[in-house]
C-alpha cells in the first residue's frame, strides 16, 4: 500500500476519532482539538514522503499530533490560557484497594515481573490494554499522566500550564502510576495467563 492510501485508510477508521479525543483531553474546546488534528493530518499528507515505514503510519501521524498539541498548549499558555485540570482533593479512596490501614501493600497485591518494555512495545494486544487502562484513569490523573509521559512535559511545566502546585502534580502522577500498573497487571498478566 502506498503511504497516501495507508493515510486515507486510517482516516476512515475510528483512528481519527481517537486522535480527536486525545487532543480534547488537553485542549478542551472541541473545535480547537479538531483543528489541531486537522493540522497534523495536513502535515502528514504533505510530508508523507518523509514517512520511512519503520513504525506504523498511525504512530507516525500520532507523533506529528503530539508536537501540534505541545505547541498549542505552550501558545495558549503565552496567551494566558491555562489547562483546566482539577487539583486532587483529599484522599483517593481507590487507593484503599492497594494499601491497608497502616499503608502497607495488601497481601493480595502481588507485583509480578513484567516483560521488558522493548518486548511489550511490540505486542499489539498489550499496547491496546495500555491504551484502555491509561484513558480510563480518572480525568485529572489521565491528563497529568499523558502530559508527563506521552507528551513528555516536565512536571514543573505541567504545574505552570495548568496552574497547579508541583505537589498536586506529584500526587496526581503517583495515583495514576499506582492505578495504571495495577490495571495492566490485572488485564494483561492475570487474564493473559488464564489462556496460556
Amino acid at each position: 500500500m502506498k503511504p497516501s492510501d495507508e493515510l486515507s485508510s486510517i482516516l476512515t477508521t475510528s483512528f481519527r476519532a481517537k486522535l480527536v479525543s486525545f487532543a480534547k483531553l488537553h485542549l478542551e474546546q472541541s473545535d480547537l482539538a479538531e483543528d489541531v488534528v486537522q493540522e497534523a493530518l495536513l502535515i502528514a499528507f504533505r510530508d508523507q514522503d518523509a514517512f520511512k515505514g519503520q513504525s506504523g503510519i498511525g504512530t507516525w501521524v500520532f507523533g506529528i499530533l503530539k508536537n501540534k498539541i505541545r505547541e498549542a498548549i505552550r501558545e495558549r499558555y503565552q496567551q494566558g490560557i491555562r489547562l483546566s485540570i482539577h487539583a486532587p482533593e483529599g484522599e483517593d479512596e481507590q487507593l484503599l484497594h492497594f494499601f491497608g490501614r497502616f499503608g502497607h501493600w495488601h497481601s493480595d497485591q502481588e507485583l509480578k515481573v513484567w516483560d521488558s518494555p522493548e518486548q511489550l512495545r511490540e505486542n499489539e494486544e498489550f499496547m491496546q490494554i495500555l491504551e484502555l487502562c491509561m484513558l480510563n484513569l480518572p480525568k485529572a490523573q489521565c491528563q497529568v499522566f499523558t502530559l508527563r509521559e506521552v507528551l513528555e512535559f516536565e512536571s514543573q511545566e505541567i504545574a505552570n500550564v495548568a496552574e497547579l502546585s508541583a505537589q498536586n502534580v506529584y500526587v496526581l502522577l503517583h495515583r495514576a502510576r499506582l492505578k495504571l500498573r495495577s490495571c495492566l497487571q490485572k488485564n494483561w498478566l492475570e487474564d493473559g495467563c488464564e489462556s496460556c
Partner: protein, 76 residues
C-alpha cells in the same frame, strides 16, 4: 518510618524532582526491606518507556462489527 504508600509516593516523586537527603535515606531503608516497592520502582520506569511509545491503536474498537469498515468505504 515510611510505609509502602509513602514509599511509592517518594519513588514516583523521585522521577520528577530531586528528593531531600532525609527522603532519600528513608526510601533507601524502606526499599532494602520491601521487594514490592522495589518492583514498583522498576515498573514505573517501564511505564514511562511504554507511554512514550504509545500511539492509539489503528484497529477499530473491538466492539465494532467486523464489516463496519468495508461499509464505510462504499460511502461517497
Amino acid at each position: 518510618m515510611l510505609n509502602c504508600h509513602g514509599a511509592t509516593a517518594k519513588l514516583s516523586k523521585q522521577k520528577e524532582t530531586a528528593l531531600t537527603k532525609s527522603e532519600r535515606w528513608s526510601l533507601l531503608l524502606h526499599k532494602a526491606m520491601c521487594s514490592k516497592c522495589r518492583r514498583f520502582g522498576q515498573q514505573i520506569d517501564q511505564l514511562s518507556d511504554l507511554a512514550r511509545a504509545f500511539s492509539p491503536s489503528e484497529e477499530p474498537s473491538k466492539a465494532q462489527p467486523p464489516h463496519a469498515e468495508k461499509k464505510q468505504n462504499k460511502l461517497p
